[in-house]
Structure formats: structure tokens, C-alpha cells
Amino acid sequence: MYSKVANNKTDDRSKYFFKLLSSNMILFGFIILCFILGLLTNRFFTINNWRNIFVQSSTTGIVAVGMTFVIITGGIDLSVGSVLAFTAMISAGMIRGNMNPILAIIFTLVFGLCIGLINGLFISKLKMPPFIVTLAAMSIARGLAMVYSGGRTIPIMNDTYNFMGQGYLFKIIPIPIIIMIIAFFIAGYILKYTSFGRKTYAVGGNREAAKFSGIKIDNIEMIAYSITGLMSATAGIVLSGRLGASLPTSAEGLELDAIGAVVIGGASLSGGKGTIFGTFIGVLIMSVLNNGMNLLNVNPFYQQVFKGLIILVAVLIDVLKNRYKNE
């Protein structure tokens, strides 16, 4: 049975929103979370606070964009945090060596892409398990970041470079937000509308069938891991710009946050599923949680407990609703 044609545009729009909500309960969970936080503290719904939330999402968000591609192919990338630290370290080194900051940024991005490509080569050409390859890469990149820095923080005293983390567009929108939003838009576009995006889903959905349809699985995988490498390097530049320094310990444990965000957003680790919009909500849920608990000055020991519980509940809403639909 098909629904009748809507009478007018506003009706249409509200229906669209309703459909979005009901098809995406995680968004619903997110809105409820925000609502509750808004009730608990009037500082929550302020422009300033949301600017904070978005800026604080930027590192995980940018990395999660890359992770979405990899997870849709059915893979995983554990090396993101280490690659972030390593690339940020390299760029800090170049800045210290008085390299032109723009050049340094470009070089760093290319460098991150190459690390991702190497991961992808091992995984697609040598058919090694992504978990192992990226676990090894995680260890290696972190080690190299340590070796390169001697375990020390490298301060970055370059305003152009630090603009990437601390600057503003039109004096109000922080650059990290801009970069994150652009990344989400481009990735969303690619996944939804392009041939590469469709192939990414196909590879994760059914490798054999994708192969029979003339899709070069190897290439798709290599590109997916390269994107993740590139995004890690981007996040590295943003983070080190924000801190005005590169730390060898940057972004430890980021992999779990990023994967978590992607999976909360509805992707499945067995591949073929997931959306950029879902990832975006997943990232925001995490940031809003941290932010809200800071605003409420929740005892730090309990913060972890609440964080776990709320993630559980948010995903539970999603799961129960899908269940209900299928009955």
C-alpha cells in the first residue's frame, strides 16, 4: 500500500523529518539525550557550547569519516590513532625545520595517505586480515612517533599552521569544524552518489558477487584504507594545530572511539552497512556526553559508568525499534 500524495509542501517536509526519525532511531536517541541535558543545565543550548561540542568532535569526527569507508568494506583500521600521532609528529618536525607550513601540510596529508595505502596493500594484495595488519601498523606508527620525537612533545610555533586548529572562518566558525563538516559532506556524497561509494557497499555486502560484477575489490579496499590514512593525517594536523604542539601520545585509544562512533551510527563490522550521517550522529553522541558531564561536573569516576550506560541505551532504542518493525 502506498501513502497518498501529500497535500502541500510543509506537510511533505514534516513527513520527511518524521520518516528520518523513525528510520533512524539513533538520531531520536541523540535528540532525547540533548533534550535531557538541556533541561539539566541551561548552558547546554548555547551557541558557544555547541561550538565547543563540534570542535571537540573534530578529531574523532574526521577520523570516523575514514573509518566509515573501511568498515563498510568489511574491514577495520586500528592504526588511526597512531597514524595521527605519527603524521602530526612529522609535520611538527617539518615546521620546526622551517618548512613552508602549506607545503608541510600537503606533505603530511600525502604521507598519511601513503601509510593508509600500505595498510591497504597488505590487506588487499596479500589478503592478510585487516585486524592484524592495522594492529601491526598501530604498533609501528606509534613506535616511529616515539623514535622521531624521543618521547617528547614538539611545540609548533607557526601561526599559519596553528590556524588549522585554532583559526576561525568569518571570526565565528572554528576551522576544525569547517574541516570536519567538509569531510562529512564529501564522504557522504561519495558514499551515496558515486560509483566508488556504491562499490564500497558492494564489496562489504558480498565480495564474491562484487567480483563477479567486475568490481576490482583490491582497488576499492586500497582506496578505502588510503582515505582512512588521509583522514588520520588531516585529524593530526587539526589536533596539533589546536594544541600548538605534537605529542607522541596523541590520540591513544582513538581507534575504539572512532569505530564506536561508526557502529553506534548503524554500521556493522561485517560490512555492507553504514552511513556517513549515522557516523556523524555517533560522533556527536560521544562528544555531547563528555560535554554534558563536564558541564554538570559529574564525578569523573562515574563519568565512565554513565557513558557506557547511555551508549547502551541509545543503541538499544535503535535495536528495539528495528525489531518491532520486523514483527
Binding site: 558515486t194 562499490k199 555486502g205 558477487a209 567480483k211 563477479f212 560484477s213 567486475g214 555492507g272 552497512k273
Partner: protein, 498 residues
């Protein structure tokens, strides 16, 4: 005659779409009930309701004079009803024996699995039913046909009172089907009631006592098989007459387009043949003859160890399917679930998967209008039963899934289309449709390579037939040499002329 099971007024809808509407079904002791209907008529759904996979919306099921309400497969199994599902359900990493007795392995006093006993039981079961399987083989390494035999053995092993068989023969060759019929006959003697679903009319007449026909989820009634002609049955199913099961061909055979010389791969040795323009080139053989493997090698999926492939006289090296597609070769694979479909994709997304590169612009943007056009085209031309092109393909009936796959390959407009058992699980009406499609292709001077296990299909459709046996080419038969006897003669490995 004792009625074992009675399903009354069964109705079922999936997300508001009605799939079964007041259907009745009686299973009698020692009788085989044929269940007929077009693709998507609701046969499998009815069986799955009985086996506890789906829950019925309305109706009652009476088994041995008691109403039952199946909730899960286990419950139904314990009642004494077993089922062979339309799609294979096996654990690839386990042995044949472990699969047959999945979850019911014999245990010793320490709860340890008694493997000796397991293998003995399996050997016994296989021998009793004359099934040609090795109990210790790993199932993942078997061909589809052999896997199907494992499913059959499994269904029998329950010693059930009722066995439901949803297209058990679609992956079997005549030989193996005949074995299954022998098994069914001995089951009948034991008083087992059987439901048998098939799209092959010969089989229905060969083995069934009664037939029940479904059309669009509606009950079209039950007939004694002796009181009804094939034509009448088809009319009950389709609602109209089908003139010719094998439509007339009028193709002109031209130059050689594909030439294969001494091809050797993992599973096949020294295969040489050529395919000409406008020709239907058949490949026949028993299960495991290596027909699929030959085509996999040509299509760039398996590695070619030695030998050459010439296309239009030019030597080409096809390293992967993409190159094959670029060279105008299409391939409808034999295992649709594993190799043909992205189950979580919609009909539309599956339709354009092989043609993505042609409908995108330089930025990779997929032309959405074109997508819609192509998928609607397929749905219309092949009469795919689906509520829209946005439907997720895993919810289509098996036959309709197959139509989408064929449609997807027709859309790349191939010079050579390889069809590996394309009519498996396809209803009579659609089969005729697919045959006309094949004729359409050849009429335009394009070629078709048709792998088939159905001899009538091979005999009627092919211009030449290559017969294979255990990875080797036995004989290429010309049009005037093609006969069922000759094909079988070479297929079982005999040499020389007859």
C-alpha cells in the same frame, strides 16, 4: 488415506503486502504432494510457515489431530517434520557428517562427541540411500550439487513423518535427481508424507501423487496427477497458455568470436573450443565435470595456468572480471546467493552493479535517472515480481532474484553471455521467457554460452554442445549430432563415437 497434516486458511503478509491468502494444504501418509506455482507465488513462504521460520497471520495447522503453532525450527523438528530449504544452509567449515547431524551429534557418556559413531552413522545413511558423498569431506569444498545432496541426506536423517522439499532438484543433474526419486519412493513405502516443490514438469509427473497449485498467494486447488494434463497445470499456474516451452529459433551463425586453446586451470585440463557469432554454445556434463570452472577461468576469476584465449582473432589475457566485461563478456553465475547478488542491496542497486562504470560521469556521480530506467526496464521486460525497484532483493522469491541477475547482465549488452544454469529455480513461464531472451541475443549476432544440467534444455536450445567429464573435454557435438543419449554417453566419461 490418513491425513498427517492439515493447513487451513493460511494467510501471511510481509509489511502489508499480502503473500498468502487463505491457502489450504493437506499432507497424506505415504503420498507425495507436488506444490506448483510461478516464482513468487508463495510456495517457500508456505513451507517456512510450516517449519517455524515465519509466523502465520491467520489460519490453523493441524498435525496428527492436534493444532500446532510452530514457533521455531527446533519445535517442528521434534514433532517429526523436516525440511530442505530452497537455499543451502550448511556450515562450510564442517564435514559432511557433521553437517548432516548438525547439533544432534552422538555423544558418549562424558558428553564428548563420538566421532566414530558419527561417521559410521553417516556412512550407513549415505549407503542406504545410495548417495555418493564422502562423510569426511569438508562441505565448503563441494559443488552446489553435492551440497544439495548433503541437505537431502540431512532431511532424511531425522526419520521424520513429513519431509518438505523446496526445489531439491534445482541443482541436481538428471542422474542425481533420479537417485532422489528412488529415495522418495522408499520413503513413501515407509508412510512418510512429502511435499515436493519443483519447476520441472517432468519431475512432477514422475514422482507426485497429487498437485496443489498456488497463484499470487491464492489457492488454485488440488488435483490428482493422473487427472490433469501439463497444459492444464500450466494454465492454473500462469493463468494463460504457454504456446511453446522452447520457442523457435531463427539465428544465423557467423564468424568465430571466441577461441580457447588448451586451457588449463586449477580444475580443468587442456580445454579447446570455439564459439561463433549468433550461436548458442552449450556445455553439458555431470556435476563436478568442470563446466563452471572452465568459464570461471575465461571470465578472469580463476587463474589460467596455461593456454590461450582469442577474442575476435586477437589474443587477450583476462586477468579479472572487469577486463572480461570490458571485452563484452557477461556471466550469470550458478550460485545466485553467493556470487550473484548483494543481498542487502535493493533491486535497483543490484540491477546496475555491472554497469556502474558506464552510467557515471567523470566525477564518479551515478546518473540516478539512468539507474531507475535500467532497473524498471529489467522489472518490466523480465516481469520481476517486486513491489518496487527499492525493494531489498533478499525479500524477493528465488526465481525473481534470478531474473534480476539475468537482467543485470543483459544491460551490459554483451557480445558473449555466459549463462551458468540460468533456469535453475525458474518457473515454466519465465523459462520460456528466458529462452526467447537467448534467442533475441543470438538473433542480433551475439553469442551465448549455456551451461545446463537439463538435457531437454541443452538439446533444444544449443547449436553445438561441448560435453565435459572430470575436468576434460570429451566431445563437441554439432547441431545434427545432439541427442540426449549422446550427451549422456560422453558425460559419463566414455570415449569414441557411438
Amino acid at each position: 488415506m490418513k491425513i498427517l497434516l492439515n493447513m487451513k486458511n493460511i494467510s501471511k503478509s510481509f509489511s502489508k503486502i499480502n503473500v498468502l491468502n487463505n491457502v489450504n494444504l493437506k499432507i497424506e501418509e505415504g503420498k507425495v504432494l507436488g506444490l506448483l506455482g510461478e516464482n513468487g507465488a508463495g510456495k517457500s513462504t508456505l513451507m517456512k510457515i510450516l517449519s517455524g521460520v515465519y509466523k502465520k497471520d491467520e489460519g490453523i495447522i493441524i498435525f496428527e489431530d492436534k493444532e500446532i503453532n510452530p514457533q521455531n525450527p527446533k519445535e517442528v523438528q521434534t514433532l517429526g517434520i523436516s525440511i530442505i530449504y530452497q537455499e543451502l544452509n550448511l556450515i562450510d567449515n564442517m564435514s559432511v557428517a557433521e553437517n548432516i547431524y548438525l547439533g544432534r551429534w552422538p555423544l558418549n557418556v562424558y558428553k564428548k562427541i563420538n566421532y566414530k559413531c558419527l561417521y559410521e552413522n553417516t556412512e550407513k545413511l549415505l549407503k542406504e540411500n545410495n548417495l555418493n558423498l564422502n562423510s569426511k569431506d569438508i562441505v565448503g569444498n563441494l559443488s552446489v550439487g553435492k551440497k544439495q545432496m548433503v541437505e537431502i541426506a540431512k532431511a532424511i536423517s531425522f526419520n521424520s513423518k513429513i519431509i518438505l522439499m523446496d526445489e531439491p532438484t534445482s541443482a541436481l543433474s538428471n542422474d542425481e535427481s533420479e537417485k532422489l526419486f528412488n529415495i522418495i519412493e522408499s520413503l513413501k513405502e515407509k508412510g512418510v508424507g512429502i511435499v515436493f516443490i519443483s519447476h520441472k514438469m517432468e519431475e512432477i509427473y514422475r514422482i507426485c501423487d497429487k498437485v496443489k497449485v498456488l497463484r499470487d498467494g491464492k489457492d488454485m486447488g488440488e488435483k490428482e496427477i493422473n487427472n490433469v494434463t501439463e497444459k492444464e497445470l500450466i494454465k492454473m499456474m500462469v493463468g494463460r497458455d504457454i504456446e511453446d516451452r522452447f520457442p523457435k529459433k531463427n539465428n544465423e551463425i557467423g564468424e568465430t568470436i571466441l577461441e580457447v586453446k588448451n586451457l588449463t586451470s586449477k580444475k580443468v585440463k587442456n580445454i579447446s573450443f570455439n564459439v561463433r557469432q549468433g550461436e548458442v554454445f552449450g556445455i553439458a556434463g555431470l556435476m563436478g565435470a568442470g563446466r563452471t570452472e572452465t568459464m570461471r577461468a575465461i571470465f578472469g576469476i580463476d587463474k589460467i595456468f596455461s593456454g590461450e584465449v582469442y577474442l575476435k582473432g586477437k589474443k587477450i589475457s583476462i586477468k579479472n572480471p572487469e577486463i572480461a566485461i570490458k571485452n563484452g563478456i557477461g556471466f550469470v553465475p550458478e550460485d545466485r546467493k553467493k556470487e550473484g547478488l548483494i543481498l542487502d542491496f535493493s533491486v535497483l542497486q543490484n540491477s546496475v552493479l555491472a554497469i556502474l562504470n558506464k552510467i557515471k560521469n567523470i566525477f564518479g556521480y551515478i546518473n540516478h535517472k539512468e539507474e531507475i530506467r535500467i532497473s524498471n526496464n529489467i522489472i518490466e521486460n523480465l516481469e520481476v515480481k517486486t513491489n518496487s525497484n527499492k525493494q531489498i532483493i533478499k525479500y524477493l522469491s528465488g526465481g525473481n532474484q534470478q531474473k534480476v541477475i539475468i537482467g543485470k547482465w543483459l544491460e551490459i549488452k554483451p557480445d558473449i553471455l555466459i549463462l551458468d544454469d540460468p533456469t535453475r529455480g525458474i518457473d515454466v513461464g519465465t523459462k520460456a521467457q528466458i529462452y526467447s531472451l537467448i534467442n533475441n541475443i543470438t538473433r542480433k549476432g551475439k553469442s551465448v554460452i549455456l551451461i545446463s544440467s537439463e538435457l531437454p534444455e541443452v538439446v533444444n536450445m544449443c547449436d553445438r554442445v561441448m560435453v565435459m567429464h572430470e575436468g576434460e573435454l570429451m566431445k563437441v557435438l554439432n547441431k545434427d549430432e545432439i541427442s540426449q543419449e549422446r550427451i549422456m554417453y560422453y558425460a559419463i566419461g566414455k570415449k569414441g563415437a557411438i
